[in-house]
Amino acid sequence: MNTMFISKINANDDAVRIVEWLVADKSYIEIGASLVRVETSKVVVDIKAEFSGFVCQHYLPDDVVGIGEKLASFHESEVQCVANRASSPMVSSKSVENETYFSHAAKKYIVENEIDPAIFSDQGLLTLHAITQKIFPQKEKIVKDFVSNVPHQRIEKLSHRKKCEIKSLHDAKAHTLSSSLTVEFDSDPLRNELKKIRWLNGQVFPYILHVFSQLLKNHPKFTAFYADGFINYYDHIHLGIAVDIDKGLKVLVLPDANVLSLFELNMLLMESIGRYYDDTLEEKNVTGSTVTITDLSSHNIMYFHPLLNKKQSVILGIGGDSKQTGYPMSLTIVFDHQILSGKEIALFLNELKEKILDFKNVTNN
């Protein structure tokens, strides 16, 4: 018998969700054939069989399996496979602990009272009663009143991907001290200039990415993160572009953007968006970003406060409003105050704005 384990697929995930088995339980599979389809926090990937044999599956579709857990065993015959199943039954991840689930009343209460949910880790099911018992043991009456005021609610299960995103953002929030600064400018003159470049088709976004990545070369703390009293610097400037069009929120990674020309960067961006639409993104296309950019200007959102990603020090939010005269745009940087100061961000933002508005810079490309 050979055993296959779930190996680490990316740096972020410590578990994957089983989407579907690509071969029936107890049937034969050749080494290298696709065995199971799993969902990471970023993409869905197929895992190939590491052995040939009759497969004894250890998990069910929709189970969440931790990295390093036994995924399947491979046997010489179907009989051995069945015998193994009898002695080592299928495991359901539903028995995996280390989870906390809040009732709607409990969730409403912790949100309204700005209580950090992290203090309730590993608690399983938590009701409002249990929470108030834990925080305010003397205030039992709160519970009854609060529950009776909760209107009828409909519940919907979050996807595995969304839960991963939430966990990641919670982790980022728990380890950073975030603040933000914003600058703005009218973009009409710039847009007119960009229209002269045919392949750019008047798009501002690739141009800002290009200028931003060039500028980052001189600001290493913008591609770094704080941990345990140390600043950890990344060696590369891998732009993470938050995209949420029709296929859900994904962060597309443009590696080493600082060494690319505007043309090359635009081509890479177009290719990544094409993969996003075609559902052909691979793990490498969505992991490993060292700084993130998000753009809501197409939705005419002028100002917003993006959330810092885990193990990053800044995120650039691009706002804009096409309905206002001059098509004003904003550049907001949310940053980790443990690494960067407001002054450093102010200087960077102004330099970024100047370079963006330097039309000669456009022409040079």
Binding site: L60, P61, D62, R85, A86, P89, M90, V91, S92, K94, S95, E97, E99, Y101, S103, H104, A105, A106, Q123, G124, L125, L126, T127, L128, H129, A130, V143, V147, V150, H152, Q153, I155, K157
Partner: protein, 661 residues
Amino acid sequence: MEVQKHSQQVKTFIPPEIEACVMEKALLIRLVEEALLNMYARGEIQGTIHTCIGQELTGVIVSEFLSEHDAVFSNHRCHGHFLALTDNVEGLIAEIAGKITGVCGGRGGSQHLCQGEFYSNGVQGGIAPVAAGIAWAKKTQKSHNISVVYLGDGTLGEGVVYETFNLAALLELPLLFVLENNQYAQSTHQSETLSGEICKRAESFGIRTATGSTWNWYDLYLTTEALVHDIRCESKPALLQVNTYRLMPHSKGDDNRCINEIESYRLIDPLNIYLNSVEKDNFQPIIDNIAQRVHAAVELANAAAFSIISIKPLNNNAQTSTARSLTHFSNQRLSLAINQTLHHFMEQYPQMIFIGEDVKSPYGGAFKISQGLSSSFPLQVFNMPISEAAIVGLGCGLALCGYRPIVEIMFGDFITLAMDQILNHAAKFRFMYNEQVTVPLIIRTPMGGGRGYGPTHSQTLDRHILGIPGLSVIAINNLIDPRLIYSSLILDTEDPIIMIENKLLYTKLMRFTLQPGFYFEYTQETFPTILVLPKSQHIDVTIIGYGGLSDVLVDVVEALFYSHDIIGQFICPVQIYPYDISLHINQIKKSRFVFIVEEGQGFASFGSEIIAQLAAAIRDTVLIYKRIFPPNAPIPASKFCEDAMLPNANNIIQAILESMA
């Protein structure tokens, strides 16, 4: 006049050695029954005995033409039939005396005998379809063996006899109905109970008939020989009417017949005539030998120990596990999952026979559970007439012969039509025949409302079939792979089982995942109990329910937490009888409230039993119990009224919230 007519009949020639043999058997029967009456008078026998004194020649003559592996099913007046076939005097007397050396260890007594392929049962008429099932098995096995069923003229009032006539003729079964016409149904003369002619009843179904009498037993002998030969060769049923007369009371002292009538028949009794006609010197030693043998058997029986009944304990296994080794049918509806399960097992087990009304393709059953089965397994799937009692009896007979029959009752409401077969036959045989037989019969039937079928097609009648020893009741649900259930049914079960399905649940998808925060556990029993447990040390409520409500109650437990701040657990048995809730007492005691939810009527039901068991078992904790079930009324057809009446997620949650307020 009638007596004179009988006595004037002309004898056909029978060789003397055969005549002696026949009379010797008849005498054995008579002396045994006279000894039994004496034992009864001395208080050595309890209960009842129905003697056949005066009728002995019927059994003797029929048994003359039976072969090894022919089967006989007799009735309450069975001693003569039994002795004629088995010659087991000692086993019979000990059995009737309730002794461990009896043929059924004293469990069955006078009316319930079993030895080899001889069976008897004391309920009138119900043995006919069982004998037909045995005949069907013989025919299927191409063995040229036949099945014989003994009926009395009083039994002609039972509808199931005519259901069996119909089936026997349709299926061309090698089945001999022996109709002993002794003119009385207990103490009532047939002039008050029987219309028309006996043989014409069977003839109207296309069954061949013949008539004879014990007074002109030479003719009867030859008629029987020819009839049995034809049945064996042609594999078609026949009815033999044997006119006869019972010289002793129906049971013991319950005889209101005219003494002159009885005496007139005693004068023409063939055994008395024979004994008076033979030379004493030649036959007396035979009489003495028989009497001595009977006397010895009585002494043996009196000296033997009374039987001791040991009850097999339930398969209690409190261990639970999150493991479930089979999860086929994800994202499939329960009806299709059952259908595919049947396909899977019928292919592996050709002894599985599926019978029911409208079950063959293209119709595939009223709820399409048997869709496609008859195309895949044409020799294993059969449409049956609307004869619930007979088809359950037919299944019972097949099961006695080693088949694994599955009988579909189209609506659970109709199971009442088959209750005698279930209660007095299938469920009793293994016990009352002292473990000599098993009856692995599966009866499937959908119950439950919610589809507007009205008062007689929407009931959940499980309470009427709970508490029958020897019968297990399974309530299938969509929380567990049906292959697991059927695997246990086929591999681990030898007793009859009623599998309750649910019409609404047929349309639900199999449910192997739960809302976050809940997980499944399963007991390690033949038919596991499913537990939906919260990931929490604190539990507010326990909900117990089964079958059609299982899917709804999972919704309830999840909604109680997420929308109402209440942490609940759900205990969902698959086997609801026999059932022992004590396995789960420690789990139940984690909560303060216990809710038992049922779709059937509440009075004297599963819920009552569970609360009784919990009350008896839990002494150190005060629990608050609440039962949720429909009001005391038939189920209306009106959808509005039906919805208001039956338990659903909303009204269950409402009841729970009100109880906990």
